[in-house]
């Protein structure tokens, strides 16, 4: 019997702008973070009928950080729509932030009509040229017929392999031209074929090497979160009883309360983690990239270790540190295969029994210099105290974002991240102004969850305009401002390495954050004494329909410890 073909949107002629929205719907996109302008007016006209949720930001940089926070929290790609010229250039810091941390974000920029490109037209910028080094890939769409394929490829490239931002530049005439819409079912890019399964021979070699070691350490990074491999990592670590440290980006990838967890390593890592990495004879790097903030002096990093490195990106392997057993593949797949490759009973139990001495040593280090600070109930509020209380009041059940600097390091040290995708921070680029819009993005992805931006007073001012966005969409994001009236981390470096010459780090001319919040229609709260901290946090947690600024007046001369001075080996830490 002949089947009657269904006529649907797929074969109708439609404009590029309409097609754009249809493509996003096909990709399962539920939210766009955007800001309109001349070149993207055709798309905004389609959006007027509300086919999908649009969050109107107050600055395009904020839009990208929101999409980024949305992606980090949910695992789904974040989507941005901005206009040409300044709209596009304002996204660059956001894109570079997502690129350094491998976050799947797809940015759509308007562009002047194709006939005007290259003519220095009004609001023209060569955004494809500008973002070439900070995107995983980018496109200029020259023909409306290409639009569906390019959008399909953009999402595919952003979310597969080592994820990353992809930018698609949309000239206005492409948005108004019409064509038949057909969304490709599949993507095939001959020159882009990420490797997901690790090489079985390398996996076997790695397991054999681990079983011969006496002092193994797992060093895991952001790749564990990107690949949703935290369960596999835990199984692997537990099966062999291997002490584990994570990078800043890896926090939450391994439970922060687990007995095998040594805390973060690196410049402001724990004494225990840094000593263990220096002493280990077998370092298992899982989705981490040996960043300079992690390794300290590179020649003296893990000097006694044979290094196994699991990473989906071959360029990360042996880039900074020579790797003995590289395994290219998706962390989740490789860890699964590694667990399967662990031999039965005898060899494994002998290996675990042999680790007793190592576990004792690790425990000794853990108890030697714990993360700590001096607390005086009658003195000024200590920033670390605020973070401990945030952890206590929320029971750790919150998504934490941070800005960059001391606030970020204390948030990494004093809050325990039990689950993946609960700690969102700009690790690679180190973008001040990231935390607040990222928190808004995370809150959009999870409207019911508690989302807290741990901020400094320097950083919060870098994207403070997004307070209006949070108020407009009734997003109850909490911002804990550790207000020390200085650019704390820079001040700390000046104190330690520049003879206390505090050049341009005082930002005491600042708004009254309580009044500022109120003027936007948000809630503003303040604590100046330690015994007010918990009450302020509890009060903030009650607010469910608008953002809250918590202004904590904290000790300005507090430093982050331990600290490995730049260029020093990890075991040369400055301790409190």
């Amino acid at each position: 019997m002949p089947v009657k073909k269904k006529i649907n949107a797929e074969v109708e002629k439609m404009t590029g702008a309409r097609m754009f929205i249809e493509c996003l719907l096909k990709e399962g996109v539920d939210t766009i973070f955007g800001f309109p302008g001349g070149a993207v007016l055709p798309i905004y006209d389609v959006l007027f009928d509300e086919p999908l949720n649009h969050i109107l930001v107050r600055h395009e940089q904020g839009a990208v950080h929101m999409a980024d926070g949305y992606a980090r929290a949910s695992g789904r790609p974040g989507v941005v729509l901005v206009t040409s010229g300044p709209g596009a250039t304002n996204t660059v810091t956001g894109i570079a932030t997502a690129y350094m941390d491998s976050i799947p974000v797809v940015v759509f920029t308007g562009q002047v009509p194709t006939a005007l490109i290259g003519n220095d037209a009004f609001q023209e910028a060569d955004i494809v040229g500008i973002t070439r080094p900070c995107t995983k890939h980018n496109y200029l769409v020259k023909d409306v017929e290409e639009l569906p394929r390019i959008i399909k490829e953009a999402f595919y490239i952003a979310t597969t392999g080592r994820p990353g931002p992809v930018l698609v530049d949309l000239p206005k005439d492409v948005l108004t031209a019409t064509a038949r819409f057909q969304y490709p079912e599949k993507v095939s890019i001959e020159s882009y074929q990420p490797t997901y399964r690790g090489h079985p021979g390398q996996i076997k070699k790695a397991i054999d090497f681990i079983l011969k070691s006496r002092r193994p350490v797992i060093y895991s990074g952001g790749g564990v979160l990107l690949s949703n491999a935290s369960r596999e990592l835990k199984t692997f670590a537990e099966k062999l009883g291997i002490p584990t440290t994570t990078t800043l980006m890896g926090l939450g990838g391994f439970p922060g309360t687990h007995p095998l967890f040594m805390g973060m390593l690196g410049m402001h890592g724990t004494y225990c983690a840094n000593m263990a990495v220096t002493d280990t004879d077998c370092l298992i790097a899982v989705g981490a990239r040996f960043d300079d903030r992690v390794t300290g002096k590179i020649d003296e990093f893990a000097p006694y270790a044979g290094i196994i490195h699991i990473d989906i990106d071959p360029t990360s392997i042996s880039k900074n540190v020579k790797v003995d057993i590289p395994i290219v593949g998706d962390v989740k797949e490789v860890l699964k295969d590694m667990v399967r490759a662990i031999p039965m009973q005898k060899a494994t139990s002998e290996f675990k029994a042999g680790l007793k001495e190592w576990h004792d040593q690790v425990e000794t280090w853990a108890n030697t210099h714990k993360l700590t600070y001096k607390f005086d109930p009658n003195g000024k509020i200590k920033p670390q105290y605020v973070i401990e209380k945030l952890y206590e009041v929320t029971g750790g059940d919150a998504i934490i974002t941070t800005e960059v600097g001391q606030n970020q390091m204390w948030a990494a040290q004093f809050f325990k991240y039990k689950k993946p995708r609960t700690f969102l921070t700009s690790g690679g680029l180190g973008t001040m102004g990231f935390g607040f819009p990222a928190a808004i993005g995370a809150q959009v992805a999870f409207p019911k969850k508690t989302v807290i931006d741990i901020a400094g007073d320097g950083s919060i001012q870098m994207n403070i305009q997004e307070l209006a966005t949070a108020v407009q969409y009734k997003l109850p994001v909490k911002v804990a401002i550790l207000n020390n009236m200085v650019l704390g981390m820079v001040r700390q470096w000046q104190e330690l390495f520049y003879d206390k010459r505090y050049s341009h780090t005082c930002v005491s001319v600042a708004p009254d954050y309580v009044k500022l919040a109120e003027s936007y229609g948000a809630v503003g709260l303040r604590a100046v004494k330690p015994d007010e901290v918990v009450d302020v946090i509890k009060e903030a947690m009650k607010v469910k329909d608008r953002p809250v600024f918590m202004d904590f007046k904290v000790e300005p001369f507090e430093d982050v410890y331990p600290m490995v001075p730049a260029g020093q080996p990890l075991n040369k830490m400055l301790i409190v």
Binding site: R132, L140, E190, S191, Y192, P314, S318, K319
Partner: protein
């Protein structure tokens, strides 16, 4: 050490800029770079001559492969291959030295492709050393201008059937 790398890329707008941007952004050297279409007009071949230690070359290879538009990367170092470049050399040629120049041209199996009352323009094809040797021999006559293409390379076919 000097390496000659052949890179197959999709023949798309902006690809050259992605490759040259990668080299400049990561501080890799480019000694020469040539690009042209292959038999398939959708694919271009770039021949890049670069230098660096093993670690740098490993990164160059991996970073090139990471670009979405790059199909294949091949380093000719350590294998039998043919490498050629072309140079055009405009040299002073007066009544006294014309004969001598022509004999050099002859020895190198080069060609004089343009003649004027004061200059010869010589075309030479060969590996880099040959072109450089020719330049050195012509230098004493006074070279007015020189244009070199940079290398192209191809693997030698196996000698056995």
């Amino acid at each position: 050490m000097r390496h000659t790398i052949s890179v197959l890329v999709q023949n798309e707008f902006g690809v050259l800029s992605r490759i040259s941007g990668l080299f400049s952004g990561r501080g890799f050297n480019i000694e020469s770079l040539t690009v042209a279409e292959t038999l398939d007009s959708k694919i271009s071949r770039m021949t890049i001559v670069t230098s660096g230690d093993d670690k740098v070359l490993e990164q160059i290879n991996k970073q090139l492969n990471k670009l979405i538009n790059v199909i294949k990367v091949h380093d000719f170092t350590g294998e039998e291959h043919i490498e050629r470049e072309l140079a055009l050399i405009k040299v002073n040629a007066n009544a006294e030295n014309r004969a001598e120049i022509l004999s050099i041209v002859d020895i190198f199996r080069a060609k004089v492709v343009d003649v004027s009352p004061r200059y010869y323009t010589v075309e030479i094809t060969g590996d880099r050393e040959k072109a450089s040797a020719m330049v050195e021999l012509l230098r004493p006559f006074g070279i007015k201008e020189i244009v070199r293409t940079g290398s192209v390379a191809m693997a030698r076919s196996p000698k056995q059937k």
